[in-house]
Amino acid sequence: MAQVSLNNIRKIYPNGYEAVVPTSFDIADGEFVVLVGPSGCGKSTLLRMVAGLEDISEGALSIGDRNVNHVDPADRDIAMVFQNYALYPHMTVRKNIGYGLKNRKTPASEIEDKVQTAAKMLNLTEYLDRKPSQLSGGQRQRVAMGRAVVRDPALFLFDEPLSNLDAKLRHQMRIEIKALQRRLGVTSIYVTHDQVEAMTMADRIIVLNAGRIEQIGTPAEIYHRPASTFVASFMGAPPMNLLTAKGSGGRVTVGETISVAAEVADGPVTLGIRPEDIEIGPTCDIPFTVDIVEELGAHRLLHGQLGGQELTIHVGKDVVVSAGPIRMSINPDAVVLFDAKSGLAL
């Protein structure tokens, strides 16, 4: 267990492409940090630099209180879980899990004990003598986890470990990994492009975009107070509604519809509101036209037009709506305003 600190870490690939612009953040001891962002934004690159699988072009990386810029991956006291599991196909589950220990000169009896403990924790005991090809995807995933936990490292690194699993298994493993990490208290960096995973698992989320950090914060901060329109539209399904609005005289208005009090300079702004922060009902003040009702069982999504702009409203399962004109109102406290040009929160 250790804190991790990245100080102006930068990555330029040999072909000259700058995959990560100088980036700094600290991770506290035992913290679960999720790196999230769209495909190609540099999440894996960042993680692989921490693992030592990729050279750090510039900057300083420390794990614990040791600078590890030039330390071999095997000596960084890390364990990594790969997207495709990266199990050794010719070794049994037992050997797969124990291989890292064996190379660290652990006595055989101690390896066996640790492998047994890890296997029990991950429900793998009955598969110890099988080869990876004889396991299901979920079991392979567990073996990959076993390989990581058995070493009791200072830092866990996960690179989209669940993306090869089906939705149900993904949900189950999400909870298991989180519980395991809580129990072991190992500092973790978890890469995903799935914002649900990020929201549910993270102590802190780092949203990356095109190699730079857009926002660092707790899931609630990221969700409710996005630092930019990018974060607002990336996090949440459906994403935050972003409406073209205008500030004048201490109010922000969207055409003839929404109007909220806000201390902004006169001129164009972007108004953000989460679909669930909009209410509907006959006494509400704003007219809205529903085009499509999306039935999701536990709730419904209403997609429609607000004065010519697309808007989505989230309503409970008991609210019966059909396409056509209705009335809505917004919770003014939930409104987030962004600079119309830069997209940054005001």
């Binding site: 699988l53 071999d72 997207q83 495709n84 990266a86 050794y88 291989y99 890292g100 090809s133 390989r147």
Partner: protein, 293 residues
């Protein structure tokens, strides 16, 4: 996997016919002929032949010369197979580590593959030329008076060297593609699990190359036994008498130089059985080949 079927029965047979005809004319017919003549003693001047039963075979088992050549062939095969595989593996591992220039490296090595065996033997002749061959010079500089075609051991050494040189590129290409088909993430996982590159090679890379290795082993044994004919022929040309030769070369020497068709046929029948055994072994192996997925 989905199997596609033919609408009529005779179409596949018709399509196979040319291939079958070629095999029949160039393989089954001569093979049958060889089996038949191995039971006859043929007059060296072509005046008929007489049935002698297993005499030709019995003669072979009693022949000390045949035994000596068989022993040499085994030693030759072991040496050629071992060194061509080991060298190729070494080169492939090195090439796999270089990312830049790998293509040039591969192409350069592949050229050797394009050299025909007799030409390879001829190049060997030049390299080991008694008066000015660079390798003879080199041997001389370390106090080794190299005499190709005169000294049995020296000639054997040259045969092994040229045969290995000729076979390394093929093995190299297979090993390299085997190495490159090992998933990158598996190697990276090993990088985190084991600090020593030596351990990583023997624990992870080598076992994952094993299927390629087994396959190449058979290919190389077959090569050393049969396809080195051209190399042997060039290097011992003229005076096979006192020089090392392989069993395949002996078939040729006895049959076409010695005009002993019966004995030569018996030898080739023995070799055919050997090939058959190797083939069966290989098929067995391929069937049992572990598929790592």
């Amino acid at each position: 996997m989905k199997r596609a079927g033919f609408a009529t029965r005779w179409l596949p047979i018709l399509l196979l016919l040319p291939q079958l005809a070629i095999i029949a004319v160039f393989f089954y017919w001569p093979a049958a002929h060889a089996v038949k003549s191995s039971f006859y003693l043929e007059d060296p001047f072509g005046f008929g032949s007489s049935f002698v039963g297993f005499d030709n075979y019995i003669h072979l088992t009693g022949s000390s010369e045949y035994g000596r050549i068989a022993k040499f062939t085994v030693l030759f095969t072991v040496l050629v197979t071992f060194f061509s595989l080991a060298l190729a593996l070494l080169l492939a591992v090195k090439a796999d580590n270089v990312i830049r220039g790998a293509k040039t490296y591969r192409t350069l090595l592949m050229w050797v593959y394009a050299v025909a065996p007799p030409v390879a033997g001829f190049i060997g002749l030049l390299m080991f030329n008694q008066s000015w061959g660079p390798l003879t010079e080199l041997a001389k500089s370390i106090g080794w008076d190299f005499k190709l075609g005169v000294n049995f051991n020296d000639t054997a050494f040259a045969m092994v060297l040229v045969s290995v040189w000729k076979q390394v590129p093929v093995n190299f290409i297979f090993f390299l593609s085997g190495l490159q088909s090992i998933p990158k993430s598996v190697r990276e996982a090993a990088l985190i699990d084991a600090k020593s590159s030596f351990r990583r090679f023997w624990d992870v890379t080598f076992p994952l190359l094993a299927p390629t290795g087994f396959f190449l082993l058979i290919i190389n044994i077959t090569y050393a036994l049969f396809d080195t004919f051209g190399v042997v022929d060039t290097l011992v040309k003229g005076e096979p008498g006192n020089n090392p030769m392989t069993l395949v070369y002996k078939v040729y020497v006895d049959g076409f130089r010695g005009n002993d068709m019966g004995g030569s046929s018996a030898q080739s029948v023995i070799l055919m059985v050997l090939v058959l055994a190797l083939t069966v072994f290989q098929f067995r192996l391929v069937e049992r080949r572990i598929h790592y997925t």
